[in-house]
């Protein structure tokens, strides 16, 4: 009887709904952060930009990351126009280099380059995320739980810290209670916290190497009326990656 009571108590404690009563916004964002902070990662992604006029541009690129996103390398495979172009980001994207294969020139970029659109898409380099960006740049406050995209979610408001250089004044995030995947993120204008700029919707969540992974993402640009779809074609976590891979020398390969 005693054993059943203990098991019952344990089950109650481990039920997300009951545990959630105790969780603060900072606890939840820490869980989200932990989810993204795998030691290393490889992925191959397809990015499709849908312009306001309905035209499409498709890019395929590979990316590698290490040390919980502190080091990142992105290399474009398609289309031919950008094939071989590569971006290296170190120190959580505080150091960025871009490689242009036809001129074999490597250009060091300042961090303001993170604001630039990734190949004209609705994702900026900053949106691609790095390391502890949600924790480093924002304070988190829990709002009333809501259902979003069919999932029971925690709703969080992330407000930019005074010393942060992020391009968004605040984020509203819906985090799936079951697995802590942020299913929707609203990005608000840098200067006007009431002006919604972009919305990210994640879907097709699968467990890859034990990690819940959204295989599809759509970034909807509310200002431009355009959207960019991102699909993970291949993804691997916690794979051995040599530090030498994240150097200017490797960028040129």
């Amino acid at each position: 009887m005693k054993k059943i009571m203990i098991l019952g108590l344990l089950a109650f404690l481990l039920t997300p709904g009951s545990f959630s009563q105790e969780m603060t916004g900072e606890d939840i964002i820490q869980k989200v952060n932990d989810l993204f902070n795998f030691d290393s990662n490889y992925s191959k992604s397809k990015m499709t930009i849908v312009t306001t006029s309905g035209q499409k541009r498709t890019f395929i690129y590979e990316s590698w990351s290490k040390n919980k996103g502190e080091k990142n390398l992105v290399r474009y495979l398609e289309p031919r126009r950008v094939k071989g172009q590569a971006v290296l980001m170190l120190n959580n994207a505080d150091d960025i280099w871009m490689y242009f294969p036809r001129t074999q020139r490597v250009r060091k970029l300042a961090t303001h380059a993170k604001k630039q659109k990734m190949q004209g898409s609705d994702f900026s380099y900053e949106d691609m995320g790095s390391g502890d960006a949600f924790i480093k740049n924002f304070t988190s406050k829990r709002l009333k739980d809501e259902k979003m995209e069919g999932y029971d979610c925690y709703k969080l408001e992330l407000t930019r810290k005074p010393d942060s250089d992020t391009s968004y004044s605040r984020l509203i995030m819906w985090v799936i209670k079951e697995n802590f995947v942020p299913v929707v993120i609203d990005y608000y204008d840098e200067h006007d916290p009431t002006l919604l700029q972009k919305r990210l919707i994640q879907s097709d969540i699968r467990i890859i190497d034990g990690i819940p992974t959204a295989m599809k993402m759509v970034m909807i640009n509310k200002n431009d009326n355009s959207q960019t779809e991102m699909e993970l074609l291949e993804v691997k976590y916690n794979i051995p990656l040599d530090d030498r891979m994240f150097t200017e020398r490797e960028l040129k390969k």
């Binding site: 031919r80 036809r102 060091k108 303001h112 604001k115 431009d224 150097t247």
Partner: protein, 399 residues
């Protein structure tokens, strides 16, 4: 007819050369076709030059450590293919042309095909060795690169690819932050050959290089004609350079600088300096400014002579004016269209050129680039109206 025969022969030649490679696995073939119209309004006449360029690239990873890469270029020219340079020069400079030599100042655009790059790269943990015709990209400057003794960029189109250079290059990484590069570009003798030594490193968020180079600079005297070579008289001169470059960030602004001091065997020693900065605003507008000083250029425009102009137009030297500023602003007007505007201002003579630019992504692998070139200087200045106002439209298809 002759053009088409040449094109067919070129294709057959390419097929012959590449067929053994194609038989192997893992040989990538790619490149682009580029069609371009360039025009200038000169003396109330609009002259046009059309060109078509086919670039075919090959790349193969022969093994884990060995890479082979090459590209052939085939370019045809149409329209006004002989440009009389004297039409663009101020009348007092034209007066310097020796009598009877006027016909030599014609810039011909002739069809050509050539092996632009072809090299093999051996990559090991301790070093990379690259042998053959290869790109040599030095410096952090966007328009001007004082430490680059191999290339001179087109100020109207500074990101256009540079020609390959025959060289043996050794890159030795020293940890993850430093690399030593040595480069030897052979010519007729050891003395005439170009040599380069570079240390590249990173301190905090700044990249830097220290450079030493030696190269024979092949100037011409454009007042003397050498009937043996059927060209203007070449006056080669040794150039020794010590310099460095850096790039990083200060107060959120991208910053870079480049400096080189040049010791010349015969001519006066000179130095070059570049300082630049850039920033991307939240509304996606990108702004860049670059200052360039070259003491080989002249501070007084009345001193520009025939050799200065000809060496500038023949891309033998980077500038005619001593101090220049390049300002560039670009904004993505739509997802597919970027519009830009650059100004090149010669501080030394108060003349400037305005260059509105346009980049349009027509489809995944087709892009259109266009610019106008409007000069606003009085006659004799670096960006004189006499140079003509014109522009360029380029369509490029990647395959």
């Amino acid at each position: 007819m002759k053009t088409w025969v040449s094109a067919c022969l070129f294709c057959l030649f390419m097929l012959f050369i590449f067929s053994p490679l194609l038989a192997q696995d893992g040989v990538e073939i790619f490149g682009y076709f580029e069609s371009q119209i360039m025009g200038t309004k000169l003396n109330n006449e609009f002259i046009q030059l059309y060109s078509n360029k086919l670039r075919v690239d090959l790349k193969s990873d022969l093994s884990e450590n060995i890479t082979f890469a090459a590209n052939f270029d085939y370019i045809t020219y149409h329209g006004k293919t002989n440009w009389n340079i004297l039409d663009f020069l101020p009348s007092d400079v034209v007066a310097e042309v020796p009598p009877g030599m006027e016909a030599f100042y014609v810039l011909p655009f002739e069809n050509r095909h050539f092996l632009d790059n072809a090299y093999i790269k051996l990559s090991f943990k301790q070093f990379d060795l690259t042998v053959g015709k290869q790109q040599i990209s030095l410096g952090t400057g966007y328009v001007w690169n004082p430490i680059d003794v191999f290339n001179i960029k087109d100020i109207l189109d500074p990101t256009y690819e540079q020609p390959g250079h025959n060289a043996i290059r050794l890159d030795i990484p020293l940890g993850s932050r430093y690399t030593v590069t040595t480069l030897y570009s052979p010519e007729e003798s050891w003395e005439d050959s170009a040599k380069l030594l570079q240390l590249k490193g990173r301190i905090s968020h700044f990249d830097f290089t220290l450079n030493a180079a030696e190269k024979t600079w092949r100037f011409h005297d454009y007042k003397q004609f050498d009937f043996e070579s059927m060209n203007f008289l070449e006056i080669p001169e040794r150039r020794k350079l010590l310099g460095g470059s850096t790039a990083g960030e200060i107060l959120g602004l991208g910053v870079w600088a480049e400096y080189a001091y040049n010791w010349m065997d015969v001519s006066k020693d000179f130095y070059e300096l570049v300082v630049g900065s850039d920033y991307t605003f939240d509304f996606q507008t990108y702004l860049m400014i670059e200052y360039y000083r070259n003491t080989m250029g002249k501070a007084d425009y009345t001193q520009y002579d025939l050799n200065d102009w000809m060496r500038l137009l023949a891309t033998e030297q980077k500038a005619i004016a001593q101090d220049q500023i390049y300002l560039f602003i670009q904004h993505p007007a739509t997802d597919l269209l970027s519009v830009g505007f650059s100004t090149i201002y010669a501080l030394s003579d108060n003349s400037f050129a305005l260059v509105p630019t346009l980049n349009y992504s027509f489809s995944d692998n087709v892009e259109i680039f266009a610019y106008l070139n409007l000069n606003f200087g009085s006659e004799g200045k670096a960006f004189s109206r006499k140079m003509g106002n014109g522009g360029l439209i380029r369509v490029r298809v990647y395959f």
